[in-house]
Symmetry: C2
Subunit: 226 residues, 2 copies
């Protein structure tokens, strides 16, 4: 312990890039900061790492407190540690990104905190380095989506291939050929066709699919080359 004692201790925070999908758009959950500095400005959801928890646990705890959701997808993005990134005190922040189903989250819980889901194309200015955190998180999401279907995290249990394509178009901000996309996805053999149809978008109706349960991290070559 002697050697350790000569070194400084730092506040360690986690900041969460909470992403969801709604109305053909990827949206980010933003909070008005409740204290100085930068009170009232938009920020990611954050909090401090306590003594008895890992950063992963801290992120999950904070996410639960403010959205009511548990057991959601959560992964490290990067650490941010410029000495003056927070003008009030030295805070080293570990950024995480979370994928949640907007249709399942606790709206009241979010509303209470004054939070809003903002389409990623129309983000306001964010405090500190939160813009960079978001950008890195989006790249991570694109990488994840390239190797596994993000349907499970961002879409309802059942979804049509058209919905899945639109999700991918939102993630990559790029259009995919409907026929080719469908063939590519089906060739992966990870989806199960249901007999139910979604008739809300057309007279013919589109079949619903769901992810096969035995598939974890699919060892796909690549879903989209981009």
């Amino acid at each position: 312990m002697e050697l350790y004692k000569n070194h400084p201790r730092h506040f360690v925070a986690v900041d969460c890039v909470i992403l969801g999908y709604q109305d053909d758009e990827i949206k980010l959950l933003l909070y008005p900061r409740s204290f100085e500095p930068h009170k009232g400005e938009w920020s990611l959801l954050g909090g401090f790492v306590q003594d008895d928890e890992s950063a992963d646990e801290a992120a999950a705890r904070i996410l639960k407190q403010t959205t009511g959701l548990e057991q959601i997808f959560l992964e490290q993005v990067a650490s941010f540690s410029a000495p003056n990134r927070d003008p009030e005190a030295r805070v080293i922040s570990l950024a995480y990104y979370a994928l949640i189903r907007i249709d399942l989250h606790d709206e009241e819980c979010v509303r209470e905190n004054g939070a809003y889901w903002v389409p990623i194309r129309k983000l306001p200015n964010l405090i500190f380095d939160h813009q960079t955190m978001f950008e890195k998180a989006l790249v991570k999401l694109q990488q994840k989506a390239g190797y596994s279907l993000c349907g499970k995290e961002l879409l309802p249990e059942m979804f049509t291939l058209i919905q899945l394509r639109k999700l991918y178009e939102a993630i990559f901000q790029h259009e995919f050929d409907p026929g080719n996309f469908r063939k590519k996805i089906l060739s992966l053999g990870v989806l199960e066709k249901l007999s139910l149809k979604d008739a809300s978008e057309s007279r013919k109706g589109a079949f619903y699919y769901k992810a096969k349960s035995n598939i974890g991290e699919i060892d796909i070559d690549r879903i989209v080359k981009f």
Copy 2:
């Protein structure tokens, strides 16, 4: 500051996965830990983040102090924050990986600290979670190698295509077809052929190449599909 004060502060360390290439193998620089706990056991090179520096700067500083090298490739791997990962005290560690040219590093500086370059196939047990840090760093290296030639970081300025292939075989622990590898790399248009030959490996000799200077992060599709 009031709100911050209610939260604990933590020691924040950086641990460096220092990788080099020698004798057709990727090697990891390991240090015998100089203090308790686990004194004498093998560990990554680490140190604490000070008040006036970012974690990136801390990693660069520590790397310079112990290998004599500056301006080397250094990138974040992940954070490690289990409350009891270091039994002596709560230490949150930010893992980095560095790519260095073994032929250029300061051998004396390394020797003094009792450090050794160990082939990654024959690693001893490492303390704490350092094994996991290494494994994640290797994945990062493979990703990087998939999108940019790592020749610049791990090989001398001039190298033959055979040397580059052997480097890639060491990184991916997988053999590549000599003819196909050469064509794929040359088709990227990022190498400049020199008139000099390396005659040490064969009677015919193999031409040296060097990376074209204007190429930064090449926007290659993929070098190897794996």
